[in-house]
Amino acid sequence: MNAPGKLTVTLPSDREVLITRWFAAPRDLVFDCWTKPELIRRWLLGPEGWTMTVCTVDLRVGGRYRYEWRSTEGSVMGMGGEYREIVRPERLGSVELFDEDWTGGEATSTIVLTEEGGGTLLRQTSRYASKEARDGALRTGMTEGMEYGFGRLDALLAERAAAR
């Protein structure tokens, strides 16, 4: 039912985004990959060409985390938050905010890991202050996608300039 690699993104309510994904690994490892900076840095990077420049985690209730990314074109993105619930290896709750979230909505993010099919099923629910804030956050993904396209456009322009 949950084939490895099958990712779903749904909008269960006006204020929520739910991501589900199955991983062929035990829960504790998946949990570590979400909470240990040296592991987070290895995968939470967004599109090709982005690197994580800041990744700090203070993994305790009330502790803060901070992520920043930079693209090869020099664009910078950042987000931060505070942990609200830590139940290793099954739940991780936090309040988070993207630097460029101009809708001004802090979101609660809850990650629930369940053992399923010999692996781990991840359910990540992000709950925003309003529908507008949620849509703003989804557009952050779009903006990032645009940055990605931007890099390709850059290459195309350089190619054309060289051919002149």
Partner: protein, 116 residues
């Protein structure tokens, strides 16, 4: 159609975070200049300038409603809400692909008896 000049104009228009944020907002539907200016610490004339740059690049157009002159995004791929949802999904897909590889690597080095 996509001459070097057109591409230059598009590139220049997109090379600004405020203009990209305006486009991202317009992907949800048309908005007035006032509505677009609201989230930014910027004057309405400054936002109008950004909109003119986007308009010249053919990325947005202005409606005919004399009072509001709503701004709307041009270009089907940017306009569709399913497109931004798809892009959001695509980014997580890339992230999770890397996470799969990392989890594989961690399990290869981790003694099986320590797994829970």
């Amino acid at each position: 159609m996509a001459s070097a000049e057109t591409l230059d104009a598009t590139f220049a228009a997109l090379a600004d975070p405020t203009r990209r944020a305006i486009l991202a907002r317009l992907a949800l539907g048309e908005a007035s200049v006032n509505e677009l200016a609201a989230p930014f610490a910027m004057s309405q004339p400054a936002i109008s300038k950004h909109i003119k740059v986007l308009e010249r690049a053919g990325l947005v157009s202005r409606g005919r409603d004399a009072q509001r002159r709503p701004v709307r995004i041009e270009g089907a791929p940017l306009a569709s809400a399913s497109a931004w949802l798809e892009r959001y999904r695509a980014i997580w897909e890339v992230n999770f692909g890397r996470l799969d590889a990392l989890l594989g690597e961690l399990q290869a080095i981790k003694p099986p008896e320590k797994r829970t």
